[in-house]
């Protein structure tokens, strides 16, 4: 199986280690990974702010870059949703591009979804050394859950990961308050939502909080640092990487 | 009519049509797509089904009614029913009980049963304007209202009351306590059968002016999301199930 990694602009610029983990995890599962260097951003920030004409060239660029890939894997529920769900809406009055978007959407996956649904893997290879024990709690990204309908896959992989113990979080599916432009436009409302999320993370007593989106984790990690919490924030790709490494 | 024509025209403009939808085909999702000619058959099937499952439905009704806040009493005879109503009336220290003219209540001798313990029972029926005014006053001051029911719904724990010649809307509304007597034969499985029957009534030309589906006591949670019963309607409700 071949997969082109769309690493997302946030991972590229802020969390390159998440991309590295994604590459290692996929390779260990037997996937041939490539990285199209022409990629930049899926255009979501512009689309979500209402600037559709600014989002379009980026979406076109994405479609051109990945049109001939066998499958496209994205370590972000939100960016995967942009490609899979919103490109069609963006190009609703340009039938050719809409068709191209549908075609690309059909082979685009969020990382855990790709592993479980496309590769059919729910059992992970044992790590070489003794597994590192971690208690982890999982935050469910909004677009991952509600635009892509991915709910069981990340949990299944975390449960299968050697050494990882899942601690359930109350209101795990409630938004962390990030929402891209929302957090910039309404930092205090976003901060209020974040405070609730942090309370629920703290209640679990977990060592780490994880998610499939680096943007949620950016928000949660930033809040935890501000409020003096020492819980780690790690992307699911990193946890899987650690567990298999 | 001018208001209506202009209004409809503006709706059509918004919908991008200039004529009324030539022949509107209701989709299968709405019951409007089901032929009213089959209503009778469906209603009968529903009623048969209900009578075959009546034990099960009575049990289900008793459970759902209790969880909706009714005090449920299961009685096997009319005398028992009258006895239950009498003691409920005594519990609320009733001086006056108003009741509907449901035949069932006549046949259980409710008036006499109440009179025996010194409680006045008033039957609210149609009369002239001044009679109605007086009845309102009576109902307003009565401590309890007693009615039969036209249907009961096992799914939701409800009784449905139709307004008609013998049945005032106010008996089950104005007094602070209400007792509804439910016979086995009127228990329906769910809301769906109720509305099938009502739709049938419409095509038979006797829908009437009013139906009230009552599910438990009057309640509100408007103050700090705290549940309070007995706001404008009865705070205490009894369902007497007649086996």
């Amino acid at each position: 199986m071949k997969a082109s990694l769309f690493v997302t602009c946030v991972v590229d610029q802020f969390y390159p280690e998440v991309g590295e983990s994604a590459v290692r995890v996929l390779r260990r599962l037997g996937v041939e990974v490539d990285f199209q260097e022409e990629q930049t951003c899926c255009g979501q920030p512009a689309f979500n702010s209402g600037f559709r004409s600014d989002a379009k060239p980026l979406a076109k660029r994405f479609l051109d870059t990945f049109e001939s890939s066998e499958s496209i894997v994205i370590p972000s529920g939100s960016c995967a949703a942009m490609v899979r769900v919103f490109y069609e809406e963006l190009f609703h009055d340009e039938p050719d591009l809409a068709a191209k978007a549908r075609n690309v959407a059909a082979k685009t996956f969020e990382l855990t979804e790709f592993i479980v649904d496309a590769l059919g893997i729910t059992r992970l290879p044992e790590s070489s050394g003794p597994p590192r024990r971690t208690r982890v709690t999982y935050h469910e990204g909004c677009h991952l859950r509600r635009e892509l309908g991915v709910m069981t896959q990340p949990r299944a992989l975390l449960e299968a990961a050697p050494g990882v113990e899942l601690a359930p979080m109350r209101q795990a599916d409630v938004c962390c308050g990030f929402g891209g432009a929302f957090a910039v436009k309404y930092p205090d409302i976003s901060g209020g939502m974040l405070a609730d999320k942090l309370r629920h993370v703290a209640e679990t007593g977990a060592d780490a909080v994880t998610a499939c989106d680096s943007t949620c984790l950016m928000q949660i990690a930033g809040g935890m640092e501000k409020s003096g919490m020492t819980t780690r924030a790690v992307h699911v790709a990193q946890l899987l990487d650690e567990a298999m490494g | 009519m001018a208001d209506r024509q202009a209004f409809m025209a503006s709706i059509r403009r918004a919908l991008g049509r200039d004529a009324p939808g030539a022949s509107v085909q209701p989709p299968s999702e709405t019951a409007l797509s089901l032929d009213p000619a089959d209503l009778d058959a469906r209603a009968r099937a529903a009623a048969n089904d209900a009578s075959e499952r009546s034990d099960e439905l009575m049990d289900a009704l008793a459970r759902s009614a209790a969880s909706a806040g009714w005090k449920v009493a299961r009685v096997s005879t009319l005398e028992e029913a009258a006895g239950y109503i009498r003691s409920a009336a005594l519990d609320v220290e009733a001086k006056t009980v108003v009741r509907s003219a449901h035949e069932l209540l006549d046949s259980m001798g409710i008036d006499a049963a109440l009179a025996n313990v010194g409680i006045r029972a008033e039957t609210m029926t149609a009369g002239d304007e001044s009679g109605r005014e007086a009845l309102r006053e009576t109902a307003f001051h009565a401590e309890m209202g007693v009615t039969g029911a036209d249907y009961a719904i096992a799914e939701t724990g409800s009784v449905a009351l139709l307004a008609r010649a013998e049945v005032s809307r106010l008996v089950a509304l104005l007094p602070p306590a209400h007792v509804a007597v439910v016979e086995r034969a009127i228990v329906l499985p769910s809301l769906d059968e109720l509305f099938t029957l009502r739709r049938g009534a419409f095509y038979d030309g006797n829908l009437g002016s009013y139906m009230n589906i009552i599910t438990g006591p009057s309640r509100s949670a408007d103050i700090e999301q705290t549940l309070v019963t007995g706001v404008h309607g009865p705070g205490e409700v009894h369902m007497v199930l007649l086996e």
Binding site: G50, R52, G179 | D3, L15, G21, D192, Y210, T226
Partner: protein
């Protein structure tokens, strides 16, 4: 009701700072929201019901003229009168004329969002008619001169203490403390009004086209009072409330009520067919149905917003919304609040004035997840955002600020090509240098300082992923 939709930011800030509001709002999740969750789970075929109801609403709205016409004929056949009002003013005037003609002095009212939208109470008062709200929550906010805080629970924001003060001032007598006693006091106060009133005004939860039946859902019993006691009953209804068949009511009632409060059925579901019949014991002698557009056809005309008219006003999207639970109902500045309010309020008033509302969402989609008719609110918000940012039909011209537009252009430039991204990375690293400590930015200068009030920010990576790919990952192939 003069909209204050432009005040979102200030109102939200004050709600965030109000500990009472925050505590009350937190209760919504464990209360209404979880009650809905349990009720949905306990209802067989819940997801099918939602699909079916959505399909029925879609069809009805597509042929709205047809179904309204059918409904009106049937209401008239049952002895009612029907008036179609293009706006709030026409609807109010019809009611005022009727009140004047019948010499009405007191009107008892059952909760209606449309009445709030029309500002009907103020109009009645001006005409010397006393309007009395009889739903407890609605009565309380009428006394305070406020709009509803929540579609289903209008007085959600008030504490017991506030209610106690309010009622003591209005009624006199002792100051009660407990919810039971406060409710009893309000009940006593309102009882007399039910007898005095010459007109009852209700809203409408549904109107069944096939039979001309008005369906009202209440818990307190005031709806029954308003439809049984006065000689004249007036029902006001947004034009989207019509449904095709009596036999659809099982489905709609289950969805509406279980989504709203989680009850299997509300205490009272009242079905009204015109006026009292000759041999009825009681009931009104006149029944008037006022069907109101008041801007709804703007949503009807825009295929992207049409589904807002499927709304059953159950309030589930408010309870599910993490933004609503922070900012509360009044921040939205008009009658409707929460996710559906962020769509409906701008459309019924003015989108440019209410331009903050479509942005007051993290687009998390919790609203759509609970909506009984699966209204895609996030998509409608996105549609309105693009209308605002780029000057669509509802906004006329672009409404984004210069700063927003410049930020967008700068960002677009940065991500336009890989080499530009590399350049942007280098510039960002230069700019952040004085602010970074241990790889984090803890205090940003304005306008980003608000961000760092609640969270720190990661520094831009010195070696972005694309560089690491080139130098190591590409070659290493399989290392597992």
């Amino acid at each position: 009701m003069k909209p204050k939709t432009g005040d979102f930011n200030r109102a939200a800030a004050s709600a965030l700072a109000d500990a009472d509001v925050q505590r009350n709002m937190r209760g919504l999740y464990d209360g209404f929201h979880m009650a809905r969750e349990r009720a949905a789970e306990a209802t067989p075929n819940w997801e099918d019901l939602r699909d079916r109801a959505r399909a029925v609403k879609a069809h009805t709205i597509e042929y709205l003229d047809h179904y309204l016409g059918m409904a009106a004929e049937n209401v008239e056949r049952a002895g009612g009168k029907v008036f179609f009002a293009k706006d709030a003013d026409e609807a109010s005037r019809y009611i005022l004329d009727l009140a004047a003609a019948r010499g009405v002095k007191t009107v008892i009212k059952s909760k209606s969002m449309l009445s709030e939208e029309m500002g009907l109470n103020a109009r009645l008062e001006e005409a010397g008619v006393e309007p009395v709200e009889t739903d407890l929550g609605e009565y309380l906010i009428q006394l305070r001169g406020e709009t509803p805080y929540h579609i289903v629970a209008p007085a959600l924001h008030l504490s017991k203490e506030q209610v106690a003060d309010l009622l003591q001032e209005e009624i006199g007598g002792p100051r009660y403390e407990r919810a039971e006693d406060l409710t009893a006091a309000a009940r006593e106060q309102l009882r007399g009004k039910f007898f005095e009133a010459d007109m009852g005004i209700t809203g409408a939860n549904f109107l069944v086209a096939e039979t001309g039946t008005l369906v009202l859902v209440t818990n307190e019993g005031n709806g029954r009072m308003c439809t049984s006691m006065p000689k004249v009953h007036v029902a006001i209804m947004g034009m989207e409330k019509v449904v095709p068949s009596m036999e659809d009511m099982g489905m709609f009632l289950r969805l509406l009520i279980r989504s709203a409060t989680g009850q299997r059925l509300s205490s009272y579901v009242t079905l009204v067919n015109g006026v009292r019949r000759d041999d009825d014991v009681d009931g009104p002698e006149e029944f008037h149905l006022v069907v109101v557009d008041n801007g709804r056809s703007k949503m009807l005309a825009d295929p992207a917003l049409r589904e807002a008219l499927y709304c059953l006003r159950c309030g589930a999207c408010l309870n599910a919304c993490p933004v609503y639970r922070k900012v509360g109902g009044h921040s939205y500045g008009w009658v409707y609040s929460g996710p559906i309010g962020a769509v409906v309020s701008p459309m019924l008033t003015s989108l440019p004035d209410a331009k903050d509302l479509p942005y007051a969402s993290s687009l998390c989609g919790a609203c759509r997840e609970v909506c009984p008719v699966r209204i895609d609110i996030p998509r409608m918000l996105l549609h309105m955002r693009s209308d605002l940012a780029e000057g669509g039909p509802h906004s006329g011209s672009p409404r984004a600020s210069l700063a927003e537009r410049l930020t967008m252009k700068a960002w677009r430039l940065a991500v336009a090509r890989p080499w530009m991204l590399r350049l942007a990375n280098r510039l960002a690293r230069l700019a952040q240098r004085p602010l970074v400590k241990d790889g984090r930015l803890r205090k940003l200068p304005p306008p980003l300082s608000a961000w760092t009030r609640h969270r720190t920010f990661p520094a831009v990576a010195s070696r972005p992923f694309r560089d690491r790919w080139r130098s190591e990952l590409r070659k290493s192939r399989r290392d597992g």
